[in-house]
């Protein structure tokens, strides 16, 4: 069912376009603030922690672990597993866990980014390592 799922095309905007351009190259980008040193996701031009505008793009390892998840047993497009990943670099982000046996997901499990196509830039998902 996951294979048949059609995902929405990212609209992009001047602030986030570099993320989607990198996504097309298979690179998963986060932002880091050079004033306070904190990384964040999703990307902003102004740091949500210290309000500095000195934020720079940084490629993430795309690796992390499952913070939590929930299996949506029924939906118009079939079951899916939504959750949060804590990236190695620190930030946590919302995602779906794909290409896996959803009944075997566990908090703390190691996962990595995988890309799923849309009509535009691909979207990041995560799968168990």
């Amino acid at each position: 069912m996951t294979e048949a799922k059609k995902y929405p095309t990212p609209q992009g905007n001047p602030e986030t376009q570099p993320f989607w351009d990198a996504a097309k190259q298979g690179k998963f980008m986060i932002k880091r603030c050079t004033a306070c040193g904190e990384p964040h996701y999703f990307p902003r031009s102004i740091c949500p922690f210290c309000f500095s505008d000195k934020t720079v793009w940084e490629e993430s390892s795309g690796e992390g672990e499952i913070y939590t998840f929930s299996l949506m047993r029924k939906s118009a497009t079939g079951p899916y597993a939504i959750g949060y990943v804590k990236l190695k670099e620190g930030p946590a982000l919302q995602t779906n866990f794909v290409d896996c046996d959803m009944d075997k997901l566990k908090i703390g499990q190691k996962v990595k980014v995988v890309w799923k196509p849309t009509d535009g830039a691909p979207l990041p998902f995560f799968t168990p390592v």
Binding site: Y7, P8, P10, Q11, G12, T16, W20, E38, H40, Y41, F42, R44, C47, P48, F49, Y67, T68, F69, S70, L71, M72, R73, K74, S75, T77, Y80, I82, G83, Y84, K86, L87, G90, P91, A92, L93, Q94, T95, N96, I107, T118, L123
Partner: protein, 382 residues
């Protein structure tokens, strides 16, 4: 500066309907406004403050015109289900500052008749919309992590629904009147792990309204006196993904703010209205606003502790959102209304708390596991 004791809830009305395909949404707003004004012994001409949220069709301009109001103070703060608890606090602030003297707050809508319009996209849309966060799974994610960190069980969560069902059996308007057991909850279908169908609230058409006024006007009316003595509001989100922790809510901030203003403690509270969009919502809120230690909510709610006449903290004696009513998928309004009923001594005799002179109405709005608001109101019978 404080709003303590500066505003009274003089009128309440909960629409008896749970399914209203033959009414318009604006009409339901008017019907609950009329109901609350009649309860207070006032008329629409007396209203000089109006509060509504995202459920009001078109927002303030069309609603004020449709209802024929002439407010000198308006507020359309939109924080989902707890909007109306925030409105109560904002109405008290406006009344304390002399900006209005009789405030009307309305909620109404028909999600059971048809789907609600989608919320406008936020800055996160491209980075989250594809992942299908819904109320069920957003609260499921909180429950999953709470279980992981604190050993909370599905049986403990089920007790919250069991308590609500014990109360709902006495409410003639409740959508679900059957008393259920822990086993019933655990045997209901899994919707979004670890939440079962019976961990979820009902979907109902309907609405409710409040009249908030000055001490002087309240005392000139005929209803028992109920006043706001403490209020808090707060918001929480992933905030860039730093230190994400879904085991607590913005209630950790709104609750203490309200208790501090009121000058009372959780152990003083005789009755609690806690927004019960899901069983996990109640459990986390009870911890967050201080009724028990973080992580001990499961133990606190078990064995009937929330059942009126049985446990230590009677909650949602109307049956709450889990069994009675959840108009427009927004539980804040009915939480205030049942708290006022308890303080007036107007709850059903089978669930009325004896000498109920101090109550709390607390709720969250938005998605607990994503972005949400919380608001806490502490109410006192004078």
């Amino acid at each position: 500066m404080t709003i303590k004791g500066k505003a009274y809830i003089a009128g309440i009305y909960e629409h008896p309907t749970r399914h209203a395909p033959d009414k318009s949404t604006a009409q339901l707003h008017a019907e609950v406004a009329k109901g609350a004004l009649e309860d207070a012994g006032l008329t629409s001409k007396d209203v000089d403050g109006y509060f509504c949220a995202g459920d009001a069709p078109g927002g303030l301009w069309p609603m004020v015109d449709y209802l024929g109001l002439k407010p000198r103070h308006v507020d359309s703060t939109e924080t989902g289900g707890c909007s109306y608890i925030i409105h109560l606090g904002h109405a008290a602030e406006a009344i304390a500052a002399g900006k209005c003297s009789i405030a009307l707050v309305t909620l109404a809508g028909k999600p059971r008749t048809g789907p609600m319009p989608p919320r406008a996209a936020g800055a996160e849309a491209d980075f989250e919309a594809a992942y299908g966060a819904t109320t069920h799974n957003a609260y499921g994610m909180c429950a999953m992590r709470h279980m992981h960190d604190y050993g909370t069980t599905s049986e403990q969560l089920a007790w919250i629904k069991v308590a609500a069902s014990h109360h709902a059996q006495y409410n003639p308007h409740a959508m679900l009147k059957d008393v259920v057991t822990v086993e019933d909850v655990l045997n209901s279908p899994m919707i979004s792990d670890p939440l079962h169908r019976m961990d979820c609230c009902v979907v109902t058409d309907g609405g409710g309204a409040l009249i908030v006024t000055t001490p002087e006007i309240a005392k000139s009316l005929k209803k028992p006196l109920v006043r706001l003595i403490g209020h808090g509001e707060a918001m929480k989100g992933p905030r860039g993904g730093k230190d994400l922790d879904l085991t607590y809510s913005a209630g950790v901030w709104s609750g203490p703010r309200a208790f501090e203003e009121a000058g009372v403690r959780p152990s003083d509270i005789k009755y609690a209205s806690i927004y019960d969009s899901f069983t996990i919502t109640v459990l986390m809120q009870l911890e967050d606003i201080g009724f028990c230690e973080k992580g001990k909510g499961g133990k606190f709610v078990a064995d009937g502790n929330l059942i009126s006449g049985v446990g230590k903290l009677p909650f949602n004696t109307d049956g709450g959102g889990l069994c009675s009513n959840h108009p427009v998928n927004r539980g804040g309004m009915t939480k205030i209304i049942e708290a006022v009923r308890q303080l007036r001594g107007e709850a059903h005799p089978k669930v009325q708390v004896k000498n109920c002179d101090l109550a709390i109405a607390h709720g969250t709005g938005g998605l607990l596991g994503v972005r949400h608001a919380a608001s806490t109101a502490i109410l006192e019978r004078v």
